[in-house]
C-alpha cells in the first residue's frame, strides 16, 4: 500500500481551528492530533482501495433498497 496522504496533524489543526471556528484548548490538542493521525491512516487505506479509477459513481449515499436489493437479483 502506497502512502498517499501526508498530513501533519499539529500544523493541520492550527490551520483548520480558525477556519472551522472551533476553539480548541491547548490541553485538547494532543488528543485531537491523535485522532487526526488515525483518520489519515484510515483515509490512506480508503484511498488505496482498488476501485475502477474511471468509475463515475462517486459519493452516492448508501440506499438500503437499491444497494441491498441487488442481493436478491444476483443470487
Amino acid at each position: 500500500m502506497t502512502n498517499k496522504i501526508h498530513l501533519a496533524p499539529k500544523a493541520y489543526l492550527d490551520l483548520m481551528e480558525t477556519m472551522i471556528g472551533i476553539p480548541v484548548h491547548e490541553e485538547w490538542k494532543v488528543g485531537v492530533c491523535l485522532h487526526l493521525a488515525n483518520a489519515a491512516r484510515m483515509a490512506d487505506i480508503v484511498e488505496c482501495a482498488e476501485l475502477d479509477p474511471n468509475s463515475l459513481e462517486l459519493a452516492g449515499t448508501f440506499e438500503p433498497d437499491r444497494d441491498n436489493g441487488l442481493m436478491e437479483d444476483t443470487l
Binding site: 480548541v24 484548548h25 485531537v32 483515509a43 433498497d65 441491498n68 443470487l75
Partner: protein, 472 residues
Amino acid sequence: MTRLHFSSAADITKAVKGGRLTASEVVDFFLARISRYNPALNAFTAVLAERATARASHIDAQLARGESLGPLAGVPFAVKNLFDICNLPTLAGSAINASNTPSCRDALLIQRLEEKGAILVGALGMGEYAYDFTGENTHYGNCANPWDTTHMSGGSSSGSGTAVGAGLVPLTLGSDTNGSIRVPASFCGIFGLKPTYGRLPRSGTYPFSDSLDHLGPMARNSRDLALAFDAIQGYSNSDHACADRPILDTTDTLEEGVTGLRIARASGYFSLEGYPQAARAVDKVCRALNCASEIDIPATLEGRSAAYLITNVEGSRLHLPRLRTRPQDFDPDTRDRFIAGAMLPAAWYARAQQVRHWYAKKAREVFRNVDVIIAAATPCVAPCMGEKTLIIGGEPQPLRPNLGYFTQPISAAGLPSCVVPTMDQESGLPIGVQVIAAPWREDLVLRVAYALEELGFKALEPDTLCEELVFD
C-alpha cells in the same frame, strides 16, 4: 416462576396470559429489582414507575375483559436514552441535551413494542452521542458490567447490555452504528441483533451517523430477540433510509434448524491470531456447528476504514454548532474525536462513501457461496474500566476504536448480525460471537442463534446477581 428476573419475555407473556401472574405483579417485581441493583450498575438514567404501573394496570384490565393481548403482553422493556420518550428530554448520553425540550411523543419502535403489549419501564445510559464502545460516561457515570462491576459494560448501548445481563429487564432496545449493540452484548453475555441497514425505521431517535445508524433489540435468548424484532418491523416513510420490505416472521422459522445451511468461519481480516479470548469463543461455536470451512470477505479493511471516516465526519457535522459554542461541555473522550472529524477534508468523506458501496457489494457477493458467516464480536472480554490500550499481538493499541474492530465492517456492509454469548473460562467473563447473513436475512441469523442456544450457548446468570429478590 421463582426466578422471574432471568425469565424470558416469552415466559413472562405466557404467565400473564395464563393468569399465573398479572402484568402489575411483573412490573412491580422488576421495578423493585431495578431499585435494588441499579445504584451499583448505573444502567438506568430514568425509571418510569408511574407510567409502567399505569400501563400494566391497563393490560390487566384488558385481560380481565377477555380481550386478546399481543405477543409481548406484560413484558417490561427499557430503551437506550437516545430514543424519544414522551415527557423526557432525549439525552443521547450527553449533558448538553439535558436542557432540551422534553419529547412530545415516543419513538416509533417504542410505540410498536407497546402496541404488542410490552411495557416501557425506563431509559438507559449510553456513551455520549453514541460515540463509544466502552460504557464510560463522564457526565452520568460509567455503566458497570454485571459480571464484574470493575469491568466495562461495552457501549455505546451500555445500559441496554447491562440491564439485560443483570436481569433488570428481559428486553431492551439499543442502537448500533459500528457495533454499539454487539459490543455490549458480547461483554454482558447476552444476545443482540443488529438488523440489515434500512430494516427498522429510526424515527424518534437521536442520530449519530445517518449512513450507518441501525436500531435493534437485546435480550437473554434468541426467541425474545425474534419476538421483539417481529414486533418492530415494518416500513415507515418517516425515515428516509427505511426500506419498504416484506415483513419476516422470524419467530415461526426459529426452530427450522441449521441442516442444509452453508456456514463458514470468517478468515482474512477476521483471523484471530493475537486475540486468544475471541479465538476460543469462535472455535467453540464453530465446533458446535461442525463448521470447518472458512471464507474471506474481501476488502474488509477498506470497508472498516470507510465506516470510520463516514462516522467521524457525519457525527462531527451533526455536532458542529455545539463544538463551536460549548466544546467544554462534551465528554473529553468524544470531544477530541468530534473536533478531529469536523476538520477532515471533504474528499476523504466522498471517497469513503464510494468505498463503502464497493465493499458492501463485495460482501453481498460472498453470500453466493455461503448462507451464514461466523466471526468474533469483540477482540477480547470486557476490559477493566479506565483501560486505554488493548494488547493486540503483543503490541499496545488504542482501546476505544479497536473494541469495534470486528463489528464495524459488518455495519459498513449493512449485513444483519446476531451476537450469541459464550463464556471464557480463563477470565470468567462472557464474550460474544457474531452470526452474520446476507442482507434482509435476519431469519437466518436468528435460526442459527437459536440452534446454538439449543447446543448450550445461553445467556448465563452472573454469580453476584442471581440470588435474592425471589418472586413469591
